[in-house]
Symmetry: C2
Subunit: 352 residues, 2 copies
DNA sequence: CAGCACCTTGTAAGCGTTTACATTGAGGAG
DNA sequence: CTCCTCAATGTAAACGCTTACAAGGTGCTG
């Protein structure tokens, strides 16, 4: 182990000067700094993060808490954040927060969740926490507050904390309005099931946006046109099949709450012999890698940039720059591709 | 901050005893242990990881190095590993290792890569490293060796290091043999481009397995039947379209090197008006979440279990149990679904 | 030329644990 | 009863760095 003492000896200065030098503090003469750097390089010296953390109270590590490791969206966000943080010299430690489904308190997921708040995060391994899409109960919120760490939420409106998020109502409103402007009136909505997704207010919010756009257009919203599924291709595929097979409704457009769901909808339509967009327009939300491939019209929310942005925010807060905005709305944009077009003349899409 | 001293005071013992107690060392009387635990709980004491690391040299943190954050496969592996490690009390820190494409040395990716080896990993933040699918050059290998940390590779055969991996030749051989056994003789192969994927020996290995199976069946392999693309749905989609449009070849089956590629192949076939499996059998490798949805016959390599397994290995090595196997072959299994069936009578699939 | 301000550097006191070693006391063997 | 062993605990020295504070110089001002 090459310690700071060795570097100090080689450079002929004290360890304090080495520390200051390497930390880029101003009060070191250029000549000394150069000598120190040369010595450090020669010895291949790198600070020990444990010692540094213990002495300074800073870890140069950011915790990234997310509800799922196998969702495309979260990974895109993580990617953006990781890159920015790494470039700033921060490591990223991953914490998986299983949904607390509230049903079964003794269930392992709940125990894991409690453990995260009671032990893991309290080990002081992180300077700051980024929490994606999570809704906390009061006890958990309190636990985080006690940590006294910088905490910023992305997506889920973490109460009383800096957070970034889409204006989900506006997003859904805009998407629906796009379909309305194409002449669609029977617009279905595929979204997540609010019951199951306790950690996740988004489905309800998006649905509200969808309904308000309809209302504004003077269209009464039909509960039969709203279907729920989990946020997967397969889930939406099933939901869409059922929707399209239902003789009581004849949607000419589907607004899905995520791109993966929208892809499921497209595949379902195809398998029922419907053409997209001739028989059915489909749009999603996200800006998924595959959106282009499927020609999917979508509301792009630039997930990778979201990650970057949240990282920036954390970095500037750590740098002591007072960040005022407690809630920041993220940008989004409608990207028009080939999965939406003007409404076909009214007919039952199942029997062309 | 509630320190160990406070706990010691409250329990009426020395800090040494508290430390021993909480670490579960044997030489503490049950009565004392109980008192210490009660005190710790009352004060909500949790050890400071920095102090503990500095004193003990152990970090309780594992580094997970991977070439990509947006590949389904890596995330599945990560998920399995993260869960197992978290349950063992370890945190997981993510390191992104951009491919060193060798072309442009000054390119930022290369700089980032160098930095990872020269600085980041040397900060001693991890007790062990798990490296997924990466090929190192000599300098990098040396850098890792110098770390003196436990290192295990998954996938990419990290030279001279414990590693887990599929027998890619056997996998491809078995897949191809499956198609042969269904009567196919014109079997195409969609795989990664070995040139571009410098960090990735797998495409070549799988291709070898594919060819050896053909050879064993007395079939001469036709270079026109082998197409390359990046490992994405979209890439394979294009490659498959070109393959199927090529008048010189008439494949009745496609073996794709990954499930995502296989899905691309299925979608391409559909878009050309071919039915899967009637006109074209398709199979992949991985065990993708979506394989079931697409009825994809595949060789499941249980990525999540791979993550668990690699985590287990690391944990037992850290526990000091001498692990002997330097290379461990991972299990896999053919899962037959509806995307493969017996070969159709010979004809050009493009003009039925 | 004294006095002052400021820049650079060194000194040394932590930071909160772990752990080698010393100490104490109890129980068992002889 | 003495001596030895061993279990349980305490003492105190690291662990490798950061940083408040002190000290020494330099150059300027008046």
């Amino acid at each position: 182990m090459t310690t700071i003492q060795r570097v100090a000896d080689l450079a002929g200065v004290s360890t304090a000067t080495v520390s200051r030098s390497l930390a880029g503090k101003s009060s070191v003469s250029p000549a000394t700094k150069e000598r120190v750097e040369a010595a450090a390089k020669e010895l291949g010296y790198v600070v020990s993060s444990a010692a540094s953390s213990l002495a300074s109270g800073r870890t140069r590590n950011i915790g990234f808490i997310l509800p799922d490791l196998d969702s495309w969206f979260f990974m895109a966000v993580l990617k953006g954040a990781q890159r920015m943080l790494a470039d700033a010299g921060y490591d990223v430690t991953l914490y998986h927060l299983p949904a607390a489904n509230g049903l079964d308190v003794d269930e392992p997921g709940t125990a894991r969740r409690a453990r995260l708040f009671d032990e893991i995060l309290r080990r002081q391994r992180c300077d700051a926490l980024i929490a994606v899409n999570l809704e906390l109960d009061e006890r958990e919120r309190e636990a985080l507050r006690e940590l006294g760490r910088c905490l910023v939420g992305l997506g889920g409106p973490v109460h009383g904390v800096h957070s970034l998020g889409l204006d989900d109502t506006a997003v859904a409103y805009d998407a629906t309005t796009h379909l309305l402007s194409l002449g669609h009136t029977a617009i279905a909505h595929i979204t997540g099931d609010a019951e199951f997704e306790r950690d996740f207010a988004m489905p309800a919010t998006r649905r509200a946006g969808y309904e308000s756009a309809l209302a504004e257009a003077g269209i009464e919203s039909d509960p039969l046109l709203v279907r729920t599924a989990d946020f997967t291709i397969a889930g939406a595929y099933e939901a869409t099949k059922q929707l399209l097979a239902d003789p009581h409704v004849h949607p000419t457009a589907v607004f899905a709450a995520s791109d993966e769901m929208a892809i499921g909808a497209i595949l379902a339509a195809r398998d029922l012999g419907l053409s997209v967009p001739e028989d059915l327009s489909v749009m999603g939300v996200d800006g998924h890698d595959l959106a282009d491939f499927f020609g999917l019209t979508t509301i792009d929310q630039y997930p990778e940039q979201q990650g970057q942005r949240v990282a920036e925010l954390v970095l500037s807060e750590l740098a002591g720059e007072g960040v005022e905005a407690v809630v920041e709305r993220l940008p989004y944009a409608l990207v028009q591709r080939s999965s939406t077009s003007i409404a076909p003349p009214l007919h039952s899409p199942i029997t062309p």
